[in-house]
Amino acid sequence: MYALISLVKIVIALVLLLTAVAYSVWLERKVVGHIQNRWGPTRVGPFGLLQPLADGAKFLFKEDLTPPYVYKPLYIAAPMISVIFALTSIAVIPIGNSITVGGIRTPLQIADVNIGLLIVLGITSMGVYGIALAGWSSNSKYSLLGSLRASAQMVSYEIALGLSLIGVLIMSGSFSLREIVDAQGGTFWGFIPRWNIFQGQFVAFFIYLMAAFAETNRIPFDLPEAETELVAGYHTEYSAMKFAMFFMAEYANMITVACLASLLFLGGWHGPLFGPAWLQELLPIAWFALRIFGFLFLYIWIRGTLPRFRYDQLMSFGWKFLFPLAIANLVITALIVALKA
């Protein structure tokens, strides 16, 4: 019975994640289109809503070209590594409180482990191998430059990212994502929600936001792709479904990062509950989805607004600004928590 429930949850989580990936691509094209005073996809289905399906079919039927002189085992393995690690991290992320279906009460999470946050960080830190190996095995100077940039950037910003999370960990005293969210329930003076971002972790949220943009290689930190100088960066030599795998990995990582941001800083699934019992069961999921949508919209908004960093600016921003700021935030948070205790 337990195994069956887990299996059902795994299938549901994967379907949800892949659908979210497909439709965040649609959302991105649509929103960026409107920012640039165009329509975005309109042809396939109402509002272009079937565009992701058409894209998927196109990727499947395109010629899968393997350039000569690539190092084949790694060239084939790299997109798989990317997409596997991007999809695995959803296993420990809760998308809501527990739910009762047919008399069985089950948490909305594939595995509730007491070090959930560390597992997400570990899995996402392995994702860099996909990008690094893709660039190296392609045997092309653009790809190699792209993947060198990606590895340097991801290792650098991982430090700021990790340090920004420690403040939240000190305040909640747990690595379990569920316990971190539970600690953020309730309100101050009846109207300000007790989210970590309102408990003095605003600076940490800012650092997390910046580092998360860099970790997922999004504009303004998309130096590894930088189409104006590196053609397409680390995936220059990839086509068809192999390219689509990198694409899926990038968007799945965006969604993971958005989930973490809402769980750690924005109160997870907490929100006003009202209406009949079935609605009260489902509302937390809706609140959580709303936060993720907002975060993705922010991603796209920034993509449509900001230009790309120069490489030295990127490195000095990470090491000379975000890193000291994260340490200062950590020290101050630790001091306040120690004085209160």
């Binding site: 070090i115 993947s147 060198l148 690595f175």
Partner: protein, 173 residues
């Protein structure tokens, strides 16, 4: 039983990765086998119940240190290594010596010292227990190690910065 068979399976992967690391001729394949060794070690820790150590093993070793290894191999564009004629004495004496040495270590650990085998899932796994050990019972060794690491970092910075090239740059600018 299932736990034990998974444990043995990943132990085998770990050993195979270590052998593959030595046998492979291309540095990037060796680095990848080392990653496989580290990840399977992390799985072993996880199966023994040391969840925190397992996660840290993946984050630090597989996710950070090995990324730098791979990064350097890519940066130097290291190619296939030439196989030089190794000394025959090393082959004849080395492999049996290594086998005898590891058998000796295993025998001492199993028979002679007070260590007993650890049941699957019984190591201290919760972060709170680890924190108690690190910051209470073993505080002094922990702090001494931190100072040692700090000295190593500063040494690396000193070695990496060439004072000559810096003064040259200042003259040019």
């Amino acid at each position: 039983m299932l736990h034990l068979s998974i444990f043995l399976f990943f132990g085998a992967i770990c050993a195979a990765g270590a052998v593959n690391l030595l046998v492979q001729r291309h540095p990037i394949n060796s680095a990848l086998s080392l990653i496989a060794v580290m990840v399977s070690l992390a799985v072993e820790y996880l199966l023994l119940g040391a969840e925190f150590v397992a996660a840290v093993q993946v984050i630090i070793y597989a996710g950070a240190i090995m990324v730098l290894f791979v990064f350097v191999i890519m940066l130097l564009n290291a190619g296939v290594e030439e196989r030089i004629e190794g000394s025959r004495v090393a082959m004849i004496l080395g492999i049996p010596g290594m086998l005898v040495g590891s058998a000796l270590v295993a025998w001492v650990l199993l028979e002679r010292s007070g260590t007993s085998s650890v049941a699957v899932g019984s190591l201290p796994g919760y972060p709170k227990e680890i924190a108690g050990l690190l910051f209470h019972d073993f505080l002094l060794p922990f702090e001494v190690t931190s100072v040692l690491v700090l000295i190593a970092i500063m040494g690396a910075v000193v070695l990496a910065s060439h004072p000559d090239s810096e003064t040259q740059q200042k003259k040019e600018s």
